[in-house]
């Protein structure tokens, strides 16, 4: 597995994609393009110099200064060339990795070659490594062709060797992480669709772009580290605003380190998921075991608090912090709930064997409840870690507890609904179930908006009765009478949800009994 050049899957891709004639053609094309880029850089520099000469009199530059600038222009050309090459390699390798890996497994399934690979003695680790490096092997070859030119350009451009090494470390780590994301996505689909792959690729790049753009304003600036562009900008741009901004528990860290940490940790979870599912039949894949889901929930919640950064223009008190974090944690827990949906066949076996509520193939709700407890535990720890900025108050902890209970109940309802959908004859039941859940919340919001026109209190009551959003009004300074009234509405809302959960559990049981 470590000796990549002996990995049969990698060798297969290498042979198919890098035959001698193709390799020579690609190398020659890359060199020709590099020469064109260098000429472009040189031309741009010459235009700049000409403009400077023309404006020398206007700006009263001395002939010595002009001569110095002209002398330095050679270095500037190489520096520009070096930066261009670095960005180009980053773009080519990450784009190619995502696009090729995102169609890899689904493509093999579609071509009916996947079973043959699964039937061999190749381990999941070997398959994973082989595909990760093999699918974009041509892009790696292009980078390899550019490497000597980049090193020379960096040297002539006056860049340190550390900068070049860090740049390549980022390109490689980014490409591997993005490739892993692509493989994970491709494992989720039964057949490939080039259109979907392209849309997914551009979507991910849009997210990366957004993360990079919002790094100076968002409360989680460190997330921008997931975008390799952020780290590359910090390495190649001299502007100081590109260099700072990444924090872990408020302490500043270099973007490169942040990116590598995020790639390492998130990548490790992706690897775990892929190792668990890669050789499984499509219908029998289960993303994570129940215990792993708990671990993942803890990791994601912890990461949230680690990457959090209070902004001076939006001061948060303890309750505001709690609500913000529980809201984010709710999204994380919903994702965990999705990962805990049990395939029908396993659920049926679990039901027949009466294997206990905590069994890995049972219903998700006991483990969802545990994930909520984990979420609350990390809230307490997170608030303690941020106590100097947001405070550590009993009231906030009580609000957090209430919010987690409410979110836990609604999550249980929604996840049980999705599990019930899985037991129906719907096509793509989870996707359709998600659409129904989304439609429910949209309908609730529309209803609330309509009621808000006549009375805001009625709108909030509907929120409290139908959605977990109502609970987020708790603890706001609206007076004791309002709070008590809201609490009653929340409790009634929870009672309604418990009734729905009971109905869903009965529905699931009757379906399991009938099959």
């Amino acid at each position: 597995m470590i000796e990549i050049w002996k990995n049969p899957e990698f060798v297969r891709h290498f042979r198919a994609n890098l035959r001698k004639t193709r390799a020579i053609t690609v190398a020659a094309t890359v060199i020709a393009i590099c020469i064109l880029i260098w000429l472009g850089c040189w031309g741009a520099q010459q235009s700049e110099l000409a403009a400077m000469r023309r404006g020398a009199g206007e700006f009263q530059w001395s002939p010595e200064r002009l001569a110095q600038m002209e002398q330095h222009s050679g270095v500037e050309v190489w520096l520009m060339f070096y930066r261009f090459l670095m960005y180009a390699q980053l773009g080519v390798l990450t784009f190619w990795s995502l696009l090729s890996c995102a169609q890899s497994i689904s493509g093999e399934r579609e071509r009916k070659t996947w079973d043959f690979q699964r039937a061999t003695r190749l381990g999941t680790g070997e398959l994973l490594v082989g595909k990760l490096f093999g699918e974009p092997v041509l892009a790696y070859f292009i980078v390899l062709c550019c490497l000597p030119l980049t090193v020379v350009a960096g040297w002539l451009g006056g860049t340190t060797w550390q900068n070049v090494a860090c740049g390549y470390a980022l390109v490689l780590a980014g490409a591997l992480f993005i490739g892993l994301t692509g493989l994970w996505l491709s494992n989720l689909f039964e057949t490939r669709s080039r259109g979907t792959g392209l849309i997914g690729t551009f979507g991910l790049y849009l997210l990366f772009g957004l993360a990079t753009a919002l790094r100076e304003t968002s409360n989680f600036p460190g997330i921008a580290g997931l975008s390799p562009l952020t780290g590359m900008l910090s390495l190649l741009q001299e502007d100081g605003r590109y260099r700072e901004g990444a924090t872990i528990f408020g302490a500043h860290v270099p973007w490169l380190l942040m990116s590598l940490l995020l790639y390492g940790t998130f990548g490790a979870w992706l690897v775990l998921v892929l190792l668990r599912t890669l050789k499984k039949d499509y219908d029998q894949m289960k993303t994570l075991s129940r215990r792993e889901v708990l671990g993942c929930a803890a990791f994601l919640n912890f990461t949230m608090y680690a990457l959090f950064l209070p902004r001076p223009w939006y001061r948060m008190d303890a309750i505001g912090f709690t609500k913000f974090m529980v809201g984010m944690s709710g999204l994380v827990l919903f994702g965990m709930g999705l990962a805990m949906l049990t395939p029908i066949e396993r659920l049926k076996v679990w039901w027949r064997t009466r294997n206990g509520a905590l069994a890995d193939d049972g219903l998700a709700w006991p483990w969802l409840a545990m994930s909520v407890v984990v979420g609350y535990g990390t809230l307490v720890c997170g608030m303690f870690a941020w106590r100097h900025h947001v405070g550590f108050e009993r009231e906030a902890l009580m609000t957090g507890l209430l919010l987690y209970v409410v979110i836990g109940v609604y999550l249980t309802r929604d996840i049980l609904f999705l599990q019930w959908c899985r037991l129906t004859r719907l096509r793509a039941p989870v996707l359709k179930g998600l659409l129904y859940v989304g439609l429910y919340y949209v309908a609730a919001t529309v209803l609330v908006t309509s009621l808000n026109v006549s009375s805001e209190a009625r709108g909030r009551a509907v929120y409290a009765l139908m959605t977990p959003v109502g609970a987020f009004y708790a603890g706001s300074a609206n007076g004791d009478a309002y709070q008590s009234h809201l609490l009653v509405q929340i409790v009634v809302g929870l009672a309604i949800q418990f009734a729905v959960i009971w109905a869903l559990l009965s529905g699931i049981k009757s379906r399991l009994n009938s099959q």
Binding site: K6, P8, E9, V11, R12, R15, A16, N17, R111, K112, T113, D115, F116, Q117, R118, A119, T120, R121, L122, G123, K279, D281, D283, Q284, I344, E345, K348, V349, R425, Q515
Partner: protein, 308 residues
């Protein structure tokens, strides 16, 4: 050797394989017959460790496929019904990939590739891209891939589907040569004539159930209390009529001027005795023989006739 025990596989509301138990001894060629959707492919994929059963267990050469799929797969070669190959590889590269994927010893691989290419009759195509091979050649290459690691068990799902008659003959010859090397072959088809004269045992699957299974001779003898015998003679047939009318084991006789047929209930010994009686009585017998049962006839007796 393949041992299948109480195998069950469910998909949503459908029971694809229902309590199938089966043992295929080493060196056997076992034909799994049944209509589309009978559960053949599901059974074979479970045997290969590609699919987990809902219940039951499968052992291949003593290794539980569910417990240690990778070890079991060491001795299994698998070819699915519809498949494609890596068209951008050359023939030898394709086989080399799978030889390494099955973790064969490095020194053994080149020789083995040459052997299977020869067995598959693809010597002239060794260095060609798979993209340029004909359908039959691709099918043979698929089988060559399945046997590259010298598996003791070969699982072939509808290997002849879509092949022209010549390619079918070539395929049959190839499989015979594999059998001669001592491999156990589990082969499925919904076309009975494909398996005729080739399998040593058959199993008939319908709606997920194995409705009949065993060695062909046993199935024939079990399925045929009465054997149909045809005969031809010279001269008048008085003697024939007399002897047959007087024999307790003969029934449903249809006798013409110089030929006829009848059902016979009895052992081989008794049948030869009957022939001896006819000859001893002075009847000039030209031919006398039992009508061989075909797969179709056996199948028609035990199934609900869903197979071609």
């Amino acid at each position: 050797m393949i041992e299948i025990e109480d195998l069950r596989k469910e998909y949503d509301d459908l029971v694809a394989v229902d309590r199938v138990s089966l043992t295929i001894p080493p060196g056997e060629i076992y034909g799994l017959i049944g209509p589309n959707g009978a559960g053949k492919t599901t059974t074979m994929r479970i045997v290969c460790g590609l699919l987990e059963p809902t219940e039951g267990r499968v052992r291949v050469n003593g290794v539980d496929v569910l417990v240690d799929a990778e070890r079991a797969q060491k001795s299994i070669g698998y070819l699915s019904d519809f498949f494609s190959l890596y068209e951008d590889l050359k023939v030898w590269e394709y086989l080399d990939y799978f030889a390494h994927a099955y973790k064969m010893a490095e020194s053994e691989i080149p020789g083995r590739i040459t052997d299977v290419i020869r067995q598959a009759g693809l010597e002239v195509k060794r260095g060609e891209l798979i993209h340029g091979l004909s359908r039959g050649m691709k099918q043979r290459l698929g089988i060559a891939r399945a046997m590259i690691h010298r598996p003791q068990v070969l699982v072939l799902d509808e290997p002849a589907s879509g092949l022209d008659p010549k390619a079918r003959v070539e395929l049959r010859n190839l499989l015979r040569s594999v059998r001669d090397e001592g491999a156990t072959i589990l082969i499925s088809s919904h076309i009975l004539s494909e398996l005729e004269g080739f399998c040593t045992s058959i199993g008939i699957m319908e709606r997920g159930r194995l409705v009949q299974s065993g060695r062909i001779e046993d199935l024939i003898s079990a399925g045929t209390q009465l054997r149909r015998v045809r005969l031809r003679w010279l001269g008048d047939g008085v003697q024939v009529w007399t002897v047959l009318d007087g024999h307790s084991g003969v029934s449903d006789s249809k006798l013409n001027k110089n030929d006829g047929e009848f059902n016979f209930s009895g052992t081989d010994e008794e049948l030869s005795q009957l022939l001896a009686e006819l000859v001893a009585g002075g009847q000039r017998i030209v031919s006398f023989g039992e009508e061989k049962q075909t797969f179709e006839e056996i199948y028609m007796k035990v199934s609900s006739h869903e197979v071609m």
